[in-house]
Symmetry: C2
Subunit: 490 residues, 2 copies
Amino acid sequence: MRLTSSALSFRLLILIFIFSCKALALKPRFLGRNTDQSFSQHRSVSYNTLYIDQQIDHFGFLENGTFKQRYLLNDQHWHKDGGPILFYTGNEGDITWFCNNTGFMWDVAEELGALLVFAEHRYYGESLPFGEESYSNAKYLNYLTSEQVLADFAVLIKALKKSQPGAEKSSVIAIGGSYGGMLAAWLRMKYPNAVVGALAASAPIWQFIVPCGEFYRVVTRDFTISGSNCSSSIRSSWAAIDRLSATGEGLQWLSQTFGLCGPLKSQEDVFGFKAWLQETWVNLAMVDYPYEADFLQPLPAWPVKVVCKNLQFNKGVSDKQLLNGVSQAVRVYYNYTGDAVCLNTSKTATGNLGFLGWFYQSCTEMVMPMCTDGINDMFEPQPWSFQAFSDECYNQFGVRPREDWAETVYGGRNIHAHSNIIFSNGNLDPWMSGGVTKSLSESLLAIMIDGGAHHLDLRYNNELDPQSVIKARSLEVQYFKQWIKHAATT
Amino acid sequence: MRLTSSALSFRLLILIFIFSCKALALKPRFLGRNTDQSFSQHRSVSYNTLYIDQQIDHFGFLENGTFKQRYLLNDQHWHKDGGPILFYTGNEGDITWFCNNTGFMWDVAEELGALLVFAEHRYYGESLPFGEESYSNAKYLNYLTSEQVLADFAVLIKALKKSQPGAEKSSVIAIGGSYGGMLAAWLRMKYPNAVVGALAASAPIWQFIVPCGEFYRVVTRDFTISGSNCSSSIRSSWAAIDRLSATGEGLQWLSQTFGLCGPLKSQEDVFGFKAWLQETWVNLAMVDYPYEADFLQPLPAWPVKVVCKNLQFNKGVSDKQLLNGVSQAVRVYYNYTGDAVCLNTSKTATGNLGFLGWFYQSCTEMVMPMCTDGINDMFEPQPWSFQAFSDECYNQFGVRPREDWAETVYGGRNIHAHSNIIFSNGNLDPWMSGGVTKSLSESLLAIMIDGGAHHLDLRYNNELDPQSVIKARSLEVQYFKQWIKHAATT
């Protein structure tokens, strides 16, 4: 079975974390000169690239093969007499990209005297259990699970403590953002012997069990508060597109107005066009950072506000006026630099490695129900159907998702017995809908970042950072120090 | 590949927990009249036999088949308005046997108003993932791991809470003995959402990492303190056997003196004979209970003392005198009732289901190094060789053990972050060598039972119980109540 790109209808159900396929799709220009030394757009970061042999299957003994897991290491500021290890629990993409986009770790390394480690997630980047064939069939994909990944991390940490002179007594702190943040939290939950604590930034560990409409409500709220009539304009746009696309002339007008690379020709194309727009609004909500940034795309400060300036329509607006505004709004995201020749509606959905991997993970363990109703959100109504989702997964991968497994294995809301985990969330981030936003105990701490988008706290310090994120980072470091100190005395 | 019985040399390395194959081999007479209602030798216990569909592979999605896991349930004393669930984490054998031999749970059910559940371990008893073929090849055996079993338990507990009216708010306490005790502790460690605490009785969770000679030192100590010259007589017996078995006449004498069912004919037979003796001494140390009991075999109170009465030899004793004593000693174990026609040296090593299963588990995850030196213990020197062990496993099952995995996945000695686990151990029990015998924190508690053999505390109350075990059980119940109370308020 060779996997193909997903059905368009499915695309709406599989939200990609921002730390995702896009890393590969966009080939970020700030990635390194070679595999051993890379430099970010912000600061010069250098690291050694290393590999560790990992069992392909930690939980069975018939498959006894191993693969090389990549990890990056920087010991520039490390105090080898017991300084801590900050361990990035890599998520669904190339680890060099996470390494370059987790400025927080680089910013605090000196203060903590820390060794920095960035561990790549199996099946992404270079860490492919069956090489280029890793995605070629269901048998090879069978070892792409979060449990296997956590075991990889635990094995790597044990090996680091053995192999790095001085590391034996080092406290390890797991750090991750988004799905990587979920992994950081779960690593502390399942392997508390490996890490003394975890920073789970924008980690929606409860996305499996929250009402399916929550995510899109947050997206909608971001647009509502960012400009007059902004979300209502978007809500109106879907029917306007439907009306215009009913004629050949309308399709042509839409294609020209949006400057699409491939003109819309069929209702299927229109369906895809709307899915692309929806994904664009979601992405914008996630990267609504307070300063000019080049994360998924080069974007201005507070991009949702900039987008919304083009969407201040009252009810009586004509379809063409409204959609002309939408086309300008979309260009903020896709053409801030002015370099784009045309807009490609399949751009973020092509079958790149990261996308396929997360797609498979969604189709097995990571079942996050999503739905829209068009009333509490600004999108077209789309109910959640586990059965339809399961069938789609079966068609794509030959596997069926297990609806309840994530809650069973990771404890759902009943995680009070664990300790030393910080859950940070930004109130602009749609993923906060599945996050832990209230502290559960003295050592399961929620930090809310007012005005924060997706894991803003993991980014480099910036002079335009709001006080909320400055305070959050300071608190995070304070807890790290507590954990390290406590571990040293037990 | 059809699995065969193990090589004799291997038998010395694979110690079977007492809750083991023997359950099946001996067909204990006190087992029930039918599968739905069983009565123990001590008290009448009745239960319902139920089954739950479990994924064969919790950690991969390609194998999507299910099997029926058996569990037993008694709600006679259950307070359905929130009374706790005592959940026996079944180990390597038929669950009805554990049910009948865990009198402690039956004794405390009324006081706690508890629902009793006994969950069978996959690949044992009736819970066979591939039916009668489960042991027929390495592919089918691939899902026999402790991680899969813990997932079975977590799924079952979640299902019970849903399906049993009143159980939703019940606190669940895991209880297990021996390997089942390890599973109870690990269930609390890995799924603290499922159980509020665990009683891990005689659970050698550190047997993977303690010096390999510890186990046999405890066995030896039991014999040393149980009679004058007892362990030294056994230490002398091996060379005496070697000398006698050098001639045909000697072999004949040995066979007759021990009343063996099959006469010794070769050096290989003699090797097996010595292995059988060694296993007998180990078993006796494990079941050295203070009252007449019928656990593995009908035995007198304090059987090691009774055995040692036949082994009070000084150094000058002749080989035949010494071995005549040994033959009398062995009969205490094999023929206390006087019914045995002859002694069968292959009796405890035949390839029954329980044995094969534990053999496989030892050959994959449960790598417990064992060795003897003949100086600090009373056995013939046998060093530990992981490589030899691994080769033997490969020959038997086509898999190789992973030496470090158990420590990685279950945390080794660094388990301080966990909570609400009682580790009880008897100081006569050889398995205490790998147990947690000192409290690690206020909620990781060690209880030592002076004069206690293998999980004495899990047995029914007995008028001959020493104060130590009465106190231990009382403490255990006290902690249960604390956990339940605390869970009700969080």
